[in-house]
Amino acid sequence: MSERENLFSETAGGVPPVIMEARHVTKKFTTAGGRPLLACSDVSLQVRKGQTLGIVGESGCGKSSFVKMIVQMYPPTEGEIIYNGKDITKFKGEELRQCRRKIQMVFQDPAAAFHPKMKIMDIVTEPLLNFRLIKKSEKEAKAKELLRMVDLPEDFVYRFPHNMSGGQRQRVGIARALALEPEIIVCDEATSALDVSVQDRVIELLVKLQKEKGISFVFICHDMALIQSFAHQVAVMYLGNIVEVLPGSEVAANAKHPYTQAMLGAIFSTKMDFTKKIESIESEAPSPADVPPGCPFQNRCDRCMEICRTQKPKLTEIGPGHQAACHAL
């Protein structure tokens, strides 16, 4: 126990303490054909208090599977997730229910995340009523307070989800996640369905709330340019493996892993040189149901060596706060 306590109270050099840590988390599914599918392979990540952990990767890389284990939608096959010194994957019953209060989620499609026949007032206060934190008579006042927090007009409490724009709905999603005053909010592609100008304002809101309330975010995203603009740490996933972890401020200049670089090369920017040919690796990612032995990225990597085909590279420290899993580094 002493080792764990140390870990969670440590505040070395102004770095906020770790409040959640995934240790060697592995998740296996069985496909319809009975074949095993490795969605997450030995994932170890830390979430620090009041900071954002961004997870970036292409579809099928296991990023959603990973956060679903954080919010305890299903348990990992192996490994543990430590939160406040306890392995939350072992929780059952009331202990599990109480733990869910502290870890909330915001979904990608705000139109699908709400009951269409519930008013906004009922949507945002339902978690509070479930935990008997407010009386029914306090519902309206509390709902208005929550909407103010996410910069929505108070009279929206009487509306239905379909009477709002996508950006407004996503704000309601954030208000609902905030209702129980969680320590961690998991956002699964929370801005992908939004227009860029709306996305810009939603990210500003999240960062403001983080500074005011010290909330930690785990933010899944496929847009590298977006995630590096507000995440403290960025983890790059490929076929169930974390291939690189580095501070968000260093992604542009210091990303080292060949896959991270391939993703950066494929970004269309408004400030790019339009006459230059776009770079991109030509092949497609193999199915997560048949990941080759050795490095998962081997067949698309231009720096692939003999060792990459047989031995899987381990995530190793290559700089301060910077880890990568690659034999070539």
Binding site: Q199, I203, A225, H232, A266, T270
Partner: protein, 264 residues
């Protein structure tokens, strides 16, 4: 003669008095790529649907005219449209897989499509399909012809869509969010493929997208729309470097950039 002239059109849907697009004009030469960008609800998809005569649910062009190679498209008969669509003008959707019948094999539908437009035996049509798939860098076209849409990845389905729409080497290709459902690395591959189409076939394209980076990369001309109106139009460099409207400036500023604005 221009390939396409859209002359000051206004489109309304059903009984809604407010037009969905107002005073939209566009002139295109052969082999030119025009990108239309705008946020959701700005009317960009309505523009290309109007060109192809596929406005849904009581939508109609109230004003103006659309000329393709000098011929008006507004009052064509069914047979005339059949001559034009799929052979002179084709369309690619956001997810081509979703536009293909899910319970029929790719080849089955590809052959049907080819034989609708050209007199050909099944065997010949099949081979033509395989040839087109392989031109679009899909390995083993024969296997793909035997696959169902769900057996292909998003990028492969999009290539199938492009292969189908390019079969008769149309003069004009309309693409509605052709890369929005794809991963970044696949998106780059598909964009490159579009650029190659123009090089090898001289196809003109209208690309509708909300990804401003992709739009700017592909376009000769760029059109920015908001609430159904054109707020900026011009060559790519004009619009990107000197946007006339405040809206375009804000839109460009909101696009996240590598190493750009940081929120924390």
């Amino acid at each position: 003669m221009d390939l396409l002239n859209v002359k000051d059109i206004t489109v309304t849907y059903g009984r809604n008095p407010r037009p969905t697009i107002e005073h939209f004009s566009l002139d295109m030469k052969e082999g030119e790529i025009v990108s239309i960008v705008g946020e959701s609800g700005s009317g960009k998809t309505t523009v290309i649907r109007a060109i192809l005569g596929l406005l849904p649910g009581g939508g109609k062009v109230d004003q103006g005219d659309i000329l393709f190679q000098g011929q008006s498209l507004l009052n064509l008969k069914k047979e005339q449209w059949r001559e034009l669509r799929g052979s002179q003008i084709s369309m690619i959707f956001q997810d081509s897989g979703a536009m293909i019948n899910p319970i029929r094999r790719i080849g089955d539908q590809f052959v049907e499509y080819i034989r609708t437009h050209q007199k050909m035996s099944r065997k010949e049509a099949w081979n033509k399909g395989v040839e087109m798939l392989e031109k679009m860098r899909l390995p083993s076209g024969d296997t793909i012809m035997r696959n169902y849409p769900f057996q292909l990845s998003g990028g492969m389905r999009q290539r199938v869509g492009i292969a189908m729409s390019m079969t008769f080497q149309p003069k004009l290709l309309l693409a509605d969010e052709p890369t929005s459902a794809l991963d970044v690395t696949t998106q780059a591959q598909i964009v490159r493929q579009f650029m190659e189409l123009r090089e090898s076939y001289g196809t003109a394209m209208i690309v509708v997208t909300h990804n401003i980076g992709v739009a700017a990369y592909m376009a000769d001309k760029l059109i920015v729309m908001q609430y159904g109106k054109v707020v900026d139009a011009g060559t790519r460099d004009e619009v990107m470097n000197n946007p006339a409207s405040e809206y375009t400036k804000n839109l460009l500023a909101a696009v996240p950039e590598m190493g750009g604005k940081r929120y924390v």
